[in-house]
């Protein structure tokens, strides 16, 4: 549906409403109603008639309200404490320079790696010890039955012949 704007008042003209006026210099004017047509033919200035869109726009009417509305709709961001970090910690981290922040992060990563390496070495050593024990156990030549090797308790020795 095509709507037009009133050339005088700026109102919307829906199909079937209004009047089209073609002046003899073949300029086209559209009027929403007889009121605007009459005012136009009286050669009134729409900027001086309070209710027209032109006048309202010139005097900045109805613009500030719209601006206020949009401001209200904007989302507000706020900081608050999360599970592992209190508000103070977050603020401190945020206020740090980015270089310091990256350095700290690198440091933390390094530390983590070292810890891991240390734990790994400890584990390795333990493994080696165990392996040595097992090997030594086998070399003694002590006879261990299969069930004993699996962890069964030793058979009680016979008391009589």
């Amino acid at each position: 549906m095509r709507t037009y704007d009133d050339t005088f008042s700026g109102q919307k003209i829906y199909p079937g409403k209004g009047k089209l006026f073609v002046r003899s210099d073949s300029k086209i004017f559209r009027f929403q109603n007889g009121k605007t047509e009459s005012l136009f033919l009286q050669r009134k200035n729409p900027r001086r008639i309070a209710w027209t869109v032109l006048c309202r726009r010139q005097r900045r009417k109805g613009i500030s309200e719209e601006a206020a509305k949009t401001r209200r709709r904007r989302a507000v961001k706020s900081q608050r404490a999360v599970v592992g970090a209190s508000l103070d910690v977050i603020k401190e981290r945020r206020s740090q320079r980015p270089e310091a922040r990256t350095a700290a992060r690198a440091q933390a990563i390094k530390e983590g790696k070292e810890k891991k390496a240390a734990s790994d070495s400890v584990k390795k050593a333990e493994k080696a010890k165990n392996a040595g024990k097992a090997a030594s156990g086998q070399s003694t030549g002590r006879v261990i039955n299969k069930q004993g090797a699996k962890g069964a308790s030793a058979k009680p020795r016979p008391t009589t012949k």
Binding site: G16, K19, L20, F21, V22, R23, S24
Partner: protein, 129 residues
């Protein structure tokens, strides 16, 4: 009194009869007119003697001709609900057979001409509304 908007040579015409009906003429109606004022074309005709009018003029003052109305100051109600009115009354001169006498039109004409079978006049017009 109507303006004549073609280059037939007439400038102002007086309606003396609306053909085929007994009411005021509207856009697309055929009328009989008397040429009341002639148009002077071009600067060379103006610089030459004022009494002789350009030979390009196909009609003279006082001629009785047929014409078709193309613009009315009275508003016209269209089928689609819109209302159109023009700033003046205007016509285009035609021969008895219905062919336009001029070869060019200046200014807009009403769209009603199409429904009334004046396609030739419409095709000469620069714009129709």
């Amino acid at each position: 009194m109507l303006n004549v908007i073609d280059n037939s040579g007439a400038a102002l015409a007086e309606c003396i009869q609306v053909l085929k009906m007994k009411r005021a003429a509207s856009i697309g109606d055929r009328i009989v007119i008397v040429v009341q004022k002639q148009r002077s074309f071009g600067p060379e005709t103006a610089s030459s003697s004022k009494s002789t009018v350009s030979s390009a003029n196909k009609v003279r003052r006082g001629d009785i001709r047929h014409a078709v109305v193309v613009r009315t100051a009275k508003q016209v109600q269209r089928k689609d609900g819109s209302v159109v009115k023009f700033g003046d009354n205007a016509c285009v001169l035609i021969s008895k057979a219905g062919e336009p006498i001029g070869t060019r039109l200046s200014g807009v004409v009403g769209r009603e001409l199409r429904e009334r079978g004046w396609g030739k006049v419409l095709s000469l017009a620069p714009m129709h509304l």
